[in-house]
């Protein structure tokens, strides 16, 4: 089936089965590889994108469920003030190690700040616990989220 999805403000066509997860459309069909594959079953958050401003695990989000809702990925989150502030804080505090999970971390953090501009540590726990980092950058992620809102 042919689907048209709106990613970072641009319409893209994808001729795939209706059950195809958004992740593989982004990565393999559209060639937007900033969104990462980590587990395939919404356990790690590496594939997090925003659909209509809401964080979604793109590895379990069927393309036919997206409709014409706008999708934002890591490639464009820096165009929002919140995304830009987060990226800046991430670099100031040198959060990143291998970096593979950080697209998803930043997308989850951006969604958190959209709804909760001044999150507490408990808010951060609640919003970020679904995002795994095997390098163990959690302490700095927490600090960077606070810094981005300062």
């Amino acid at each position: 089936m042919a689907f048209t999805i709106k990613v970072n403000g641009t319409a893209h066509k994808a001729d795939v089965d209706a059950d195809t997860p958004l992740l593989w459309v982004l990565r393999d069909v559209l060639g937007m590889t900033g969104t990462k594959f980590g587990c395939g079953v919404a356990l790690c958050g590496a594939c997090t994108v925003h659909i209509d401003g809401v964080p979604a695990r793109s590895c379990v989000t069927r393309i036919d469920a997206v409709g014409d809702k706008p999708i934002t990925t890591i490639e464009a989150i820096g165009q929002t003030p919140t995304g830009k502030a987060l990226q800046k804080a991430w670099l100031e505090l040198e959060v990143v190690q291998c970096g593979y999970c950080q697209s998803g971390q930043i997308m989850s953090a951006a969604a958190l700040l959209a709804g909760t501009p001044k999150p507490s540590d408990a808010d951060i726990d609640a919003a970020m616990t679904g995002n795994v980092c095997r390098c163990g950058t959690y302490q700095r992620i927490r600090a960077a989220i606070h810094r981005a809102t300062a």
Binding site: G34, E94, V95, C135, Y138
Partner: protein
């Protein structure tokens, strides 16, 4: 891994010359002791005009990175070493992944182009600074010649040579062609800066790789895009040694987007336009397996085999005095068995490899810690000459030792031989966990004898487990002894008058074993630091004071004392809270940790705070050290709390992050790093904190509850 440093000052062969298309190039050739066939060409090899350090007429400094970046910060740290002596800003250095070449890009400690063993800084600390210094000297000479002035009246700063008296200035780019024609100064006359002269080394310089990692631009191996690229999903025999028995190819090919089904000895791959089609095709293929001879192997059997082997004497790794006799005469005797589980690496980036195979060439795109081993093995597999095999290295989304193995590349090449055009093989998370090469299961048997005052008079430690080196680098496995299996155990920081350490090799055909972050230290620091804690309590001594009484090394005492001070050792804690301490020398660095742990009434554990002190010699980038303390500690803590791979019916029982749990944001303790200032040469660091944390936590659990944890992961049912 074994550490056999060569004296770099005397044995590095440094060359300088002109680059293709203009510019100055500095080359190294390192002698590689375990590769004698290569050592000879190293001394006489022709100048390689693209290698290592290039400065082009546009003033761009390129460092061709022999070591791969997988989060440890090596890109930045190595660039800092070069920039310090070359007198350029870090922002002037561009980085390129090196092609495979053991001679030009070899790590002298690891005898090849291998990123591992926390050895990169130790190996390149001297030669990279020498490269920068030689280039700087040549550039200054070239400028002085052009100006007709004494070179001692010129200085280098920020990528330019300046004549101090006249303030004339020439950018390096304007000098490189003249510099390339000058004779290379003897390394004996090249003076490197003293630590007090450093302007970059020792500063928290910003990492060079991170800006592209916060906006999705970084290309990891899994992100490779090529014209005509196909993507493959793979199912590997769930039991090692098994083979596909039936594959419904027609059903797989009926899935939209599927192009091809490839069946090889041990696996089935479905090649498609995108990974979802490949995954659907693989499911439709409904592969059935002949499990082969390992279908009845389970964890209980593996542990039983280890237990039995540990009853027999092993190959002696260390013997002092007469431990048996001293044990027999001791006032008090302690015996204990410690066990550590199989562990998967479970890096965030699942295994993947892209290959374009044709009849006379093979291109491989992969993130690898071992580019030359990969190239050699692909040559062996395909029969192609080595120079027909190109390894395009990539950033790695977490290595932890997994990418010291090239099994994924060989599988991808076997598949790609059946595919026209490039194909990217991407493993599912389940394949990644179930077809890892695992950190060995270790079964350690220890005894100690104390005299009437509680001081140890005897210490014996027998390690039973798989030998990684016997497979990975057989020359290191000599006379039945694997130095990794007894790392730290054979050389503890403590002095025992009578001591016996031995090793019994035990292998299971159902699994392969491999290095895992922290290697031998992660195993033996847990065992040694736990058992010494047992001795302290048996002697009714404070665990900190007991350790100090047995140690003479001032650097070890330095980190231990600082950790105790920063953690508030001895200060009262609430009920069911405890502090535990560990200390170690591994990878050339000293480390001590104090963990503050609360044990809940249901047995669950909350690690509140970890204080880590380190003396790792001269620090290149203190922020990277802190980051490695934070990350390495959580990697080790995750394993101590949750990590276990088990086998049932020859199959790995775990498959994803729900049953092979990583620590998450809501669980992590506060981690503090405190560095001891040192003028010693740098030690390795990426793995050290991973080793330190488990015994600090289990010793804290003992302090909180009186229960000694001797088997990992921690069984919280014992703590109710």
């Amino acid at each position: 891994m074994s550490e056999r440093p060569v004296s770099l000052d005397r044995r590095t062969f440094l060359k300088a010359g002109a680059a293709v298309g203009g510019g100055l190039v500095i080359n190294f050739a390192l002698p590689l002791a375990l590769r004698p066939a290569l050592a000879q060409p190293a001394t006489s090899s022709a100048f390689a005009p693209n290698a290592f350090v290039r400065i082009d007429p546009q003033n761009v400094v390129t460092l061709v990175m022999p070591m791969v970046e997988m989060g440890q910060g090596i890109y930045t740290a190595m660039a800092m070493l070069l920039a310090e002596e070359l007198e350029v800003g870090l922002d002037q250095v561009r980085l390129e992944h090196a092609p495979p070449d053991d001679v030009l890009y070899g790590n002298s400690i690891l005898h090849g182009q291998t990123t591992g063993d926390s050895a990169s800084i130790r190996a390149f600390w001297v030669p990279l600074r020498q490269a920068g210094a030689v280039a700087r000297i040549l550039l200054i000479q070239a400028a002085a010649k052009q100006w007709g002035v004494d070179r001692n009246t010129c200085r280098a700063e920020h990528g330019a040579v300046v004549h101090t008296a006249s303030s004339r200035r020439l950018a390096y780019g304007d000098l490189v062609n003249a510099a390339a024609a000058l004779p290379v100064p003897s390394l004996d006359g090249v003076l490197l800066k003293r630590p007090e002269e450093f302007s970059l080394i020792g500063t928290p310089a910003k990492r060079l790789d991170t800006p592209a990692k916060v906006d999705g631009r970084t290309e990891f191996g899994i992100d490779v895009r090529l014209p005509g690229l196909k993507v493959a999903a793979i199912a590997i025999s769930p039991v090692r040694g098994g083979k596909p028995r039936s594959v419904n190819e027609a059903a797989a090919r009926a899935v939209k987007g599927v192009r091809q089904v490839v069946t090889i000895d041990e696996a089935v791959a479905v090649v498609a336009d995108h990974l979802w089609a490949a995954k659907k095709g693989l499911k439709a293929a409904a592969v059935e397996w002949d499990d082969g001879p390992n279908a009845s192997v389970d964890s209980a059997g593996i542990i039983r085999q280890l237990e039995e082997a540990s009853m027999q004497p092993g190959v002696v790794a260390r013997n002092e005095g007469d431990a048996e006799k001293a044990l027999a005469g001791a006032a008090q005797r302690l015996d204990a068995v410690y066990q550590l589980p199989l562990l998967a690496h479970a890096a965030m980036e699942p295994m993947n490899c892209t290959v374009h195979y044709t009849k006379d060439a093979c291109d491989v795109w992969v993130g690898t810690q071992v580019p030359t081993r990969t190239q050699d093995s692909v040559a062996d597999l395909t029969g192609l000459p080595k120079n027909a095999i190109k390894i395009h290295n990539h950033f790695i989304g977490g290595g932890f030792g997994r990418r010291l193995e090239h099994d994924g590349t060989l599988l991808a090449v076997k598949i790609a031989r059946h595919v026209i055009g490039p194909v990217k093989v991407v493993w599912s998370r389940e394949e990644d966990i179930q077809h890892d090469l695992y950190r060995p299961y270790y079964y350690d048997r220890l005894s100690a004898g104390l005299d009437a005052s509680g001081a140890p008079v005897a210490w014996t430690h027998r390690v039973a487990g798989s030998s990684i080196f016997a497979r990975w680098m057989p020359p290191v496995f000599q006379n039945g002894l694997d130095p990794d299996a007894v790392q730290v155990a054979a050389d503890p920081l403590y002095t025992f008058p009578n001591m016996h350490v031995d090793y019994v090799r035990v292998e299971s055909p159902a699994i392969q074993t491999a290095f895992w972050r922290g290697i031998g230290a992660t195993h033996n620091v847990f065992v040694v630091e736990s058992f010494i804690d047992e001795l302290a309590h048996a002697a009714q001594k404070d665990p900190l004071m007991y350790r100090k009484a047995l140690m003479a090394d001032p650097r070890a005492l330095g980190v231990l004392n600082l950790a105790a001070e920063k953690a508030g050792w001895g200060k009262p804690l609430p009920a069911r809270w405890g502090r535990g301490i560990s200390v170690q020398l591994a990878f050339g660095s000293y480390l001590s940790q104090v963990a503050e742990v609360e044990v809940m009434s249901d047995g669950s554990i909350r690690v509140h705070r970890i204080v880590c002190t380190a003396d790792c010699g001269i620090v290149i980038n203190p922020d990277t050290i802190a980051a490695q303390v934070e990350g390495g500690t959580l990697f080790g803590l995750t394993a101590a709390l949750y990590g276990a791979i088990t086998l049932k019916n020859g199959r790995v029982a775990q498959g994803n992050f729900h049953d092979y749990r990583p620590m998450r944001m809501n669980e992590v303790p506060v981690i503090e790093t405190h560095l001891v200032k040192s003028a010693e040469s740098p030690g390795g660091f990426g793995e050290a904190p991973t080793a330190a944390v488990a015994p600090a936590v289990t010793n804290a659990i003992f302090a909180a509850t009186g229960t000694r944890i001797r088997t990992l992961p921690i069984d919280t049912r014992l703590l109710k």
